[in-house]
């Protein structure tokens, strides 16, 4: 260490400005000199020498050779010298265990000293010496100190128990220190209580099930009392401990909240954040209609805003936590957008975090302000910040539909600045905007194309290529543009290569005549000249598709893509819950559970928010964190083997990384055939036997509704049968057909009354109509037409009303339907608008069909695929419903459902609860997975529905309910 050489003035000890001389550079023989000084008779000289030793120790020099000489200085009345020697001991005792024993006597003696400061110092230091032999001697003095008359000694001894536990846990238990520590929670001195709580909390962390912190209303009351009296740090220990308590009911929860809220006005931000943690957690138990609940919500906002005027480092911690709080309870800060506006001199880490929260809080009400701010930020100097600001503009567009147009024009303005990274970032987000609002903003493509040459980052290049491929038909020189990328194909990153491959295939399908050469070039580049298996496989698949069935290829490659969701970066709910329990801690700063960054067993148990309970109703105390018999989502992943992700990836063609939402629905049905297809494809490529795999190729591209049985059979055969629990038994049961209802009353249709229902018979959907003529004249020339609807339902033939309908006559007609008609999303989803014409007029009505009509017969998913898919679908897509008053056992239910093409794939029984895992496939290829929980003796079932298109969940539930209750 080259510290400035200070003048080695030999001033009197104790005067100011002398200590730095100890940091002077080492001379040769220094150790020897020090040894002599340490053994000097003069007290002052001794002390000087010890100081020099400590200085050397600090800078990392090895002064362990002086151990005996330093320890000799220990027996002194001078407290300062004693402290220095202790400091030395703590550092070197471990490396010199035998000699450390020499110190024991002094420690033991010091623990009896009349001066409480010395007693405390001795017990504090002894705990820091991690030498077994010393530890043995520590027990007796520690026991005495835990019961010392002086609170200063007791509070030090309390922490010492935690130290000792860290060295030798068994010893602490055997010696009964834990009980003594528990007693200290009732100590009269608040600081002793706080330290005992801290020590117990730490020990409890390494014994998750020990119930050490036996928290009950009495001890909680003591803690709450101590909370008002102890130091700011003690308040933090107590609040953090309180957060682990599970109140018995909402009343207790409220009374704790009431006593914790005053802490929100503390000047120490850590006290405030820990109080917020307790409140956020206990609020979970309060009924939402309670007045107090609203009051509490209102009380939380001001202190959170105040945290933003703290020092920047604390602001950062606060913002990371606010990010969590805003996701969990957006209502708290929804009116506080302005405080998150970035200030010019905020440090960069504060700026970036504020930006994140701004987007989370963006809504239609404040979007104009937010956009104006974001535009300002995009002109700042810090590259990361500018990029994030640009990206934020795109996220606003996706989140708040009304702002999309303004966002796009803002982005175009930014592209005009020609600042390289701004342009690239803007293009990446514009691609997402296209995905969200197809066919709306394509007029800007020309501007984007102008900037093609300046793109040098893979993500931006990939985004641009996607845009060109997707809108190839509107870009005159799309082929030239893509060709220009092809030149350096092998220098591109995988992301760009994959995107380019797909884009050129799209282009080919759209403009086959001019681009044959190009597509051949890219396919050979991808399959023959590339070492990347992903790229090669995708290349082969396209090749096979194109060579066997171009029509099918078109349907696969140009399939309509699912819309991207608004919030792609939300924290997964179970993790969010856990992080809320860790507010204020590192976990909440990293947004990772403690297990992700803490080694060993400490602190890795998962915390959860308490469940909402009714008054007086008591729940299992989840304060230890380990919860028996978790929910379906928790247990499911553990039995899912990690398989079949390959195809998922392959089919994930057009979904750019940041906004991945899963494969598009028309292709998702293909997963079951995945392995085979690949095998077959490769075989045929090798053997050149195109004819042999033609059928398979067709199956791949065909509309899923007509998935060939041959494909299904081998897969469902072997493995599937094993789990084929309820299958086959209940076959005789008919599918559920709702009773007929009047769709068009005679009053509204000049005498024509139509009632009807829907049925699925032998795989054909039928609309069953009853037409009654309540008018005075004969009706003829019946015809029917459907408006575009969610699932493309359309009459498969004309309405067969052969004879004229005379007054008061009724006829029954059955109209077969197909699902290949034009598609338009309806509200509600299963709404169908129908026009019926006769010789008198055209009449319009709308009806709702049970979605079970659309459940196809081959909707039984293979078990493995089921598990993988369940895991693959994000948890946000899961919805849970209750089916009340249903008195079937699980097998009967399973049979009943099966008759309506709701297939039970597996059944598990956990603690008297039957869980049925079911799959459903809709006529448009969307898979719906469901978990039905049936408890014996409980007429209420719980059904969880998971689907890539969560909109259908509600309909599916209604349908299941109808089927089961029928």
């Amino acid at each position: 260490m080259e510290w400035a050489n200070q003048l080695c003035e030999n001033r009197q000890f104790g005067s100011k400005m002398t200590d730095s001389k100890y940091f002077t550079t080492t001379k040769k023989g220094e150790i020897f000199e020090l040894k002599a000084e340490l053994n000097s008779d003069k007290k002052e000289k001794k002390k000087e020498a010890v100081k020099k030793v400590i200085a050397s120790m600090t800078v990392g020099k090895d002064v362990s050779a002086l151990f005996p000489d330093v320890v000799n200085c220990m027996q002194t009345d001078n407290l300062e010298l004693k402290k220095l020697v202790y400091l030395y001991l703590m550092n070197y005792a471990k490396s010199q265990p035998d000699m450390a024993i020499m110190a024991v006597n002094t420690f033991v003696k010091d623990c009896e000293d009349p001066n409480p400061l010395i007693r405390a110092l001795a017990v504090r230091t002894m705990g820091c010496i991690r030498v077994d032999k010393i530890t043995e001697y520590l027990c007796e003095p520690l026991r005495k100190c835990l019961k010392d008359e002086d609170p200063y000694v007791r509070k030090t001894a309390a922490v010492c128990v935690a130290k000792l536990h860290d060295i030798n846990a068994q010893l602490v238990e055997d010696q009964g220190f834990l009980d003594t520590l528990k007693d200290l929670i009732s100590d009269s001195n608040p600081m002793v209580v706080a330290n005992a709580v801290a020590a117990l909390s730490e020990i409890a962390e390494s014994h998750p099930n020990s119930n050490l912190l036996d928290l009950n209303p009495q001890s909680i009351n003591k803690l709450l009392t101590a909370l008002n009296e102890c130091t700011e740090w003690g308040q933090i220990f107590i609040l953090d401990c309180l957060a682990n308590y599970a109140p018995r009911d909402d009343r207790e929860s409220q009374s704790i909240c009431e006593r914790v809220t005053p802490r929100l006005s503390h000047a120490n931000s850590a006290v405030v954040l820990s109080a917020v943690k307790v409140l956020m957690k206990f609020m979970e138990m309060l009924p939402k209609d309670l007045d107090y609940y609203g009051t509490l919500l209102k009380k939380l906002a001001p202190p959170l805003v105040t945290l933003l005027s703290a020092e920047p480092e604390l602001q950062y911690v606060a913002l990371r936590n606010i990010n969590l709080i805003v996701q969990k309870r957006p209502e708290i800060l929804k009116h506080e957008m302005k405080v998150f506006f970035v200030k010019y001199n905020d440090p960069i880490y504060v700026k970036l975090e504020k930006l994140d929260i701004m987007i989370r809080l963006a809504s239609q009400a404040n979007i104009a302000q937010v956009l104006a701010e974001l535009k300002e930020y995009a002109t700042e100097v810090d590259v990361d910040f500018v990029r994030k600001a640009v990206r934020a503009i795109g996220r606003c567009a996706i989140k708040v539909e009304q702002s999309a147009e303004r966002c796009v024009s803002t982005l175009l303005d930014l592209i005009q600045t020609k600042v390289n990274y701004v342009v690239q970032e803007a293009i990446v987000v514009i691609k997402d905007i296209f995905r969200k609002y197809p066919n709306k903003y394509e007029s800007v493509i020309a501007t984007l194309c102008e900037n093609l040459d300046s793109l040098d980052e893979p993500e931006a290049r990939a985004a641009m290529i996607w845009i060109v491929g997707e809108y190839a038909e509107r870009i005159d020189n799309a082929d030239e543009l893509l060709e220009s990328f092809l030149e350096g194909f092998h220098d591109e990153s995988t992301q760009v290569q994959l995107q380019l491959l797909t884009a050129i295939v799209k282009l080919f399908l759209k403009k086959p005549t001019e681009t044959q050469e190009l597509v051949q070039q890219v396919l050979s580049l991808a399959t023959q000249d590339s070492d990347n298996p992903d790229l090669r496989d995708r290349g082969y698949i396209y090749w096979r598709l194109l060579s066997t069935d171009p029509v099918a290829a078109k349907e696969v490659v140009l399939a309509e893509k699912p819309l991207i969701s608004e919030e792609t970066d939300l924290i997964e709910p179970t993790l969010l819950e856990e992080l809320i329990c860790h507010i204020g801690t590192l976990a909440s700063v990293y947004h990772k559970p403690p297990s992700a960054f803490v080694e060993g067993s400490r602190g890795v148990m998962h915390k959860r928010l308490p469940a909402r309970t009714g008054s007086g109703e008591s729940t299992e105390s989840p304060d230890v964190g380990t919860i028996a018999g978790g929910s379906g989502t928790e247990t499911a992943p553990s039995i899912i083997p990690s398989q079949g992700d390959l195809l998922g990836d392959l089919l994930n063609l057009d979904l750019a990384p940041p906004t991945t939402t899963g494969p598009p629905p028309p292709t998702s049905g293909m997963q079951m055939g995945g392995m085979d297809l690949l095998g077959g494809g490769l075989d045929s490529l090798l053997g050149g036997d195109i004819g042999g795999s033609a059928a398979m190729g067709a199956g791949f591209g065909a509309v899923p509704a007509v998935m060939p049985a041959s494909l299904n059979a081998p897969m469902g055969g072997g493995l599937g049968d094993l789990f084929d629990l309820g299958g086959g038994v209940g076959m005789p049961l008919g599918a559920y057909i709702p009773p007929k209802t009047v769709w068009l009353p005679a009053m509204k249709a000049k005498g024509l009354e139509i009632s009807g229902t829907f049925a699925r018979r032998a795989g054909v959907i039928q609309m069953e109509l009853t037409l009654t003529n309540k008018a005075m004249s004969v009706m003829t020339d019946f015809a029917i037409q459907f408006n575009r609807n969610s699932f493309g339902l359309a009459p498969a033939g004309p309405l067969q009303v052969l004879s004229p309908l005379s007054p008061n006559q009724t006829i029954e007609v059955s109209l077969p339907l197909s699902t290949v008609g034009p598609v338009m999303k309806m509200e509600p989803l299963n709404n169908l608008q129908v026009a019926v014409k006769n010789n008198i007029d055209v009449f319009y009505f709308s009806c709702q069909y049970p979605i079970s009509m659309l459940f196809v017969e081959d909707g039984k998913m293979e078990r493995q695929v089921f598990l993988a898919t369940w895991k693959d679908i994000p948890n946000e897509n899961e919805s849970q419903f209750q089916i009340k008053d249903c008195h079937l056992n699980s097998d009967a239910a399973s049979n009943k459902l099966q008759a309506s093409n709701i297939f039970t794939i597996a059944k598990r029984t956990v603690e008297g609860q039957d869980m049925l895992y079911m799959s459903i496939k809709l006529s448009n290829g969307i898979w719906v997975l469901a978990e039905l929980r049936v408890q014996t003796g409980n007429p209420n079932y719980t059904i969880s529905v998971k689907c890539r298109a969560p909109e259908v969940s509600q309909c599916v539930f209604q349908c299941c309910e109808a089927v089961l209750k029928n």
Partner: protein, 443 residues
């Protein structure tokens, strides 16, 4: 909890290293130096995770303080502790500099031993610490003294020692506010808030029980309803000035020094405490309603052709004519392609500062209800840059002798039952200072 605490100089050389936990090795010292202090990129976060070890750091001038841990510690607490550590060091030896740290390293080790035990922060109030950690070694204390120290360090009033005596009991209250504004060119307030602090310096004997009162709307309304005239109204310390007849103010949020009894505030909204000896920040608060904006800026920017801008800015002071604002500075941004500026102002001095791309107009003093004006002609170099000049806002700095939030100290009462001095014997001083925070008007 905190596993270790290191202090480095700007070169990354370690000045102080204290390890509390066995899981932190000596290599942690180097890891921080290499990955943070010597990192090529500017630090992007005050929390850094290196090989499953988390480092929290704060910087004071060119000294780095780093706390290390391998556990899921309370991050807010660690930073609060580091700030407190800085406060304690400053209270002991002044500015935190390499020199001072080296000169006091024994003292720092002694402090670290006392205020952090096994990584758990302990009493860190300088008032209490100074009773038994001194730079001159420990005097031999009598038994009573010793137990007095320990009971104070662990007691409910850890921030104040017993037996303080002053011949003259005196206290000073400073209400320091920073007023922030963003105004549209048309004079519409886009956002405005005041963040204020009440700093108390007290020289009082014994253990004085204090009660602080201000014109908090909630308290005033409550009293109004009750019809009871609190004794408080009589001993008005007021005399602020500024805003005129405002009776009470709505406080958005406030936080208090740990000496204030929070549960009492929560229940009755009364602020009672036993203050630490000397200076402390009693309270911080924020207000957003009915703020007195001391100055109004009226900008007028006119583009004359492509190479010339005409700027006229009027400032109006909006407070009692008897009061004087000081250190007034108006900063008018100019485009990047400015080639020359001509300025005429009625009052003060104005200068074009090319390096800052702004015209800076300074006025030493200005009374209330006055106005002053500056006009400037800005010559521009012709550019082919299509992008329009973004027109950054005009910002202002000033200092006024009143509280823009309208806060008034109503009373500060002192009771010391054991000693024979009463509230009337205490000499009290109140001062109000309002400063500009970010005070901007768009143009």
């Amino acid at each position: 909890m905190i596993g270790g605490l290191f202090i480095y100089n700007h070169k990354g050389e370690v000045l102080i290293s204290r390890v509390y936990r066995d899981d932190i090795g000596r290599n942690a010292v180097d890891a921080f130096r290499v990955n943070v202090i010597h990192a090529r990129q500017q630090v992007r976060s005050p929390v850094t995770n290196i090989a499953r070890t988390s480092f929290f750091h704060v910087k004071r001038s060119n000294i780095w303080l780093a706390a290390v841990t391998k556990q899921n510690v309370n991050a807010a607490m660690v930073f609060e502790f580091l700030y407190k550590m800085c406060d304690v060091m400053t209270a002991y030896f002044g500015k935190i500099s390499e020199e001072n740290i080296k000169n006091n390293f024994v003292l720092i080790y002694e402090l670290l031993d006392e205020i952090l035990d096994f990584g758990y922060p302990q009493n860190s109030e300088t008032g209490a610490l100074k009773t038994f950690i001194t730079q001159t070694g420990i005097k031999s204390q009598s038994k009573e003294e010793q137990s007095q120290i320990t009971s104070q360090v662990t007691g409910q009033i850890g921030w104040r020692r017993e037996g303080i005596k002053y011949r003259r009991n005196e206290l000073f209250l400073d209400v320091l506010e920073s007023v922030n504004l963003l105004m549209s060119p048309q004079g519409q307030v886009l956002s405005a808030h005041v963040s204020g602090r009440v700093v108390m310096k007290s020289y009082l004997s014994g253990m004085p029980e204090c009660k602080f009162g201000m014109n908090d709307k909630i308290v005033i309304d409550k009293q109004g309803k009750g019809g009871a005239t609190d004794e408080a109204g009589k001993s008005d310390l007021g005399g602020s000035g500024g805003g005129g007849g405002k009776q009470s103010i709505a406080i958005d949020d406030c936080t208090f020094h740990q000496c204030v009894r929070l549960s009492k505030f929560d229940a009755e909204r009364s602020i009672s405490f036993i203050p630490p000896d000397g200076e402390c920040e009693l309270m911080r608060y924020r207000t957003t309603k009915d703020i007195i904006l001391p100055f109004r800026v009226i900008p007028l920017v006119r583009e004359v052709g492509r190479t010339k801008l005409e700027v006229k800015v009027v400032i109006k002071s909006n407070f009692k004519p008897s009061l004087l604002a000081q250190k007034i500075e108006v900063r008018i941004p100019t485009p990047l392609n400015t080639s020359g500026v001509q300025v005429i102002c009625m009052k003060g001095k104005a200068k074009y500062k090319a390096s800052e791309n702004a015209i800076v107009w300074k006025i030493k003093r200005m009374a209330g209800m006055k106005e002053s004006q500056i006009s400037a002609e800005i010559e521009l170099l012709p550019t082919n840059d299509k992008k329009k000049w973004a027109r950054p806002p005009i910002s202002m700095n000033f200092e006024v002798p009143f509280a823009p939030s309208g806060l008034k100290v109503r009373y500060l009462k002192v009771f010391e039952p054991k000693l024979n001095y009463s509230d009337h014997d205490v000499i009290k001083w109140v001062r109000y200072i309002g400063r500009s925070g970010i005070y901007e008007t768009r143009c």
